[in-house]
Amino acid sequence: MEILSLLIDGFAIAFEPLNLVLVIVGCAVGLFIGAMPGLGSVNGVAILLPMTFLVPPTGAVIFLAAIYYGAMYGGAISSIMLGIPGASTAVATTFDGRPLALKGLADKALVAAATASFVGGTISVILFTLFAPPLAEVALTFGAPEIFTLMLMAFATFVGLGGDDIPKTLFSICIGLVFGAVGLDIISGEPRLIFGGLPGFFHGINFLVLAIGIYGIAEMLWTIEVSQGEVMISQASVSFKRILANLRELKQTLKTMVMGSFLGYFVGILPAAGATPGSLMAYGLAKTISKDRESFGKGNINGVVAPEAANNAASTGAMLPMLTLGIPGSPTTAILLGGMVIWGLEPGPLLFVEHKEFVWGLIASLYVANLFSLLINIAFIPAFISVLRLPFTILAPIIFILCIVGGFVPTMDMHDVWLMLIFGIVGYLMRKLNYPMAPAVLAIVLGPLAEPALRQSLLISGGSFSIFFTRPFASVISVLALILLLLPVAKILYEKYLK
């Protein structure tokens, strides 16, 4: 009952005129960003975060969460209409969405994607509402050792489940953590890693500088390189009558949607897993349990609804550890977490005690954002399609300008803009060599939280690492983290000797 009453209070905050406008604008911007090939929720949130300083923290996070949500809906538009996933989270939607569009059934695929996203979003927000308060209550008992082991597990998940090259993933995590350590030492106050004695390094490296460099500049350079080929845009006519007809047909896919939603939600909770593997797993599961497996990849509507329900559910799932434990479940939530720190809100269990209005306002706004994303998506599909026809040579310079201004605004220091350019160029070159960049962004956000937790833990134990294995919660999490870290080794040994 308490949850219900808190949620009702949250709705009162979400329906405040400013917050409602922010949700609607955020959903529309997110849809557009998600639909743009090469741009996803992470790019949108990273580039637009500095623009949110005008509104109060609650409004700012609601706006960014709405972008996040909208982008999940939007990713399907370019997957279906262009055959190019708007973001990696919509890759699985391309498998059957594009064949449907080529058969002249683009409207069916688009309506199915929007409806599945709505179902996935709704189920996951309900699960979120139910699970967040008890998890926060448990987390309130956590001390420095538990907090450090949780962060260790977030990084271990990237190694064990990330699916990328292991040494490159480890490199990415370590470099992100080192960049997070630049500035003044938190305990002694002495300057640390001040490269070339440049004064700009004294205030540390803002996580946004790295995030915009990687997800703004590097991503755009990457998109410019890969989008040299011709892009074929499918025609889509969407009328109210056709939407209703398509919605009636979707009844048969309800089971797949629900399955995708639950799977996506639980995969989304895991740090490093997130929406992309969630959607791919849901697609695989839908295909496995289908009686008509042969039609997958050729335009089966279940192949559209499963990944779309899953990626939306995963995006909400990723917010659960971010808000309750202060551990982001995806790169986008890592940036959201960084933003919350900037606005003076420390993510973690205390947030549920000290900033109830904020937490429940955000949760309620997720329900609202879900509904508005569906309505805006269906109503504005033709408009989004026409914007997608804009030449990239118009969109690219605008995004570059946004990146540069966005890199300057948080610290008002041109030093950070140059640093962002360096991160962008090096990030682009590293991406070409398959260095995963998401762990670095996660690490630069978590680094300044992980270091004091480790130092406090070691101070308590007199320098012994056994503290991470003697406290109940910390030992369980440490063992899980070790299992995840050793998972790739076990996989190699299995493939070499047992297979």
């Binding site: 292991i166 370590c174 390189e225 040579t393 118009i394 300008i401 041109m414």
Partner: protein, 165 residues
């Protein structure tokens, strides 16, 4: 691609050693009553980076990764040209922020990008080149009250600020 994998591994390895050396400017051992020294955290992380680079180079030598097996060029001529053009354009844009300020640099960048690189008409180019700085100014300087760099054009903005405030 194969050569690029090696070069990146070596460059990042050298960078890791530099970071270790830089971290060691602060104590990296245990300080009684204080715990680990201020340099310990970045030092051991940089050591982790170095170990990763050694593993990357080892895997390169053993042809394990797809990049180390690939004979394809890291960048073909067209990609290289696009990359250099874009990187130079962004670098110039940032450089111009210091000299002519944001509101001088943005139109110059847009004219170059839209007209020269994109081949768009003068009409479209001028529409974007004129409207973007105006929107940027109104949004950042007036609405958000965030001052962007203006270089030597600073005095030109004083009457505009007088008008708004």
């Amino acid at each position: 691609m194969r050569m690029a994998e090696l070069v990146m591994g070596l460059v990042m390895g050298i960078f890791s050693i530099y970071l270790m050396w830089k971290s060691a400017e602060l104590p990296i051992g245990w300080i009684a009553g204080e715990g680990p020294g201020g340099g310990a955290w970045p030092f051991w992380l940089a050591a982790g980076m170095l170990c990763s680079c050694v593993a990357i180079i080892f895997r390169w030598a053993k042809h394990i990764t797809p990049e180390s097996q690939s004979d394809s060029p890291f960048m073909d001529r067209r990609s290289l040209k696009l990359f250099l053009l874009n990187a130079a354009a962004i670098t110039s844009l940032i450089g111009l922020f210091h000299i002519v300020g944001a509101y001088g640099a943005i139109p110059i960048f847009l004219i170059f990008y839209l007209r020269v690189m994109g081949g768009h008409s003068w009409g479209l180019t001028s529409a974007f080149a004129l409207s973007t700085p105006v929107i940027t100014f109104l949004f950042f300087e007036i609405a958000l009250q965030k001052t962007l760099p203006k270089g030597f054009t600073e005095p030109l903005f004083l009457p505009i600020f007088d008008f708004f405030y």
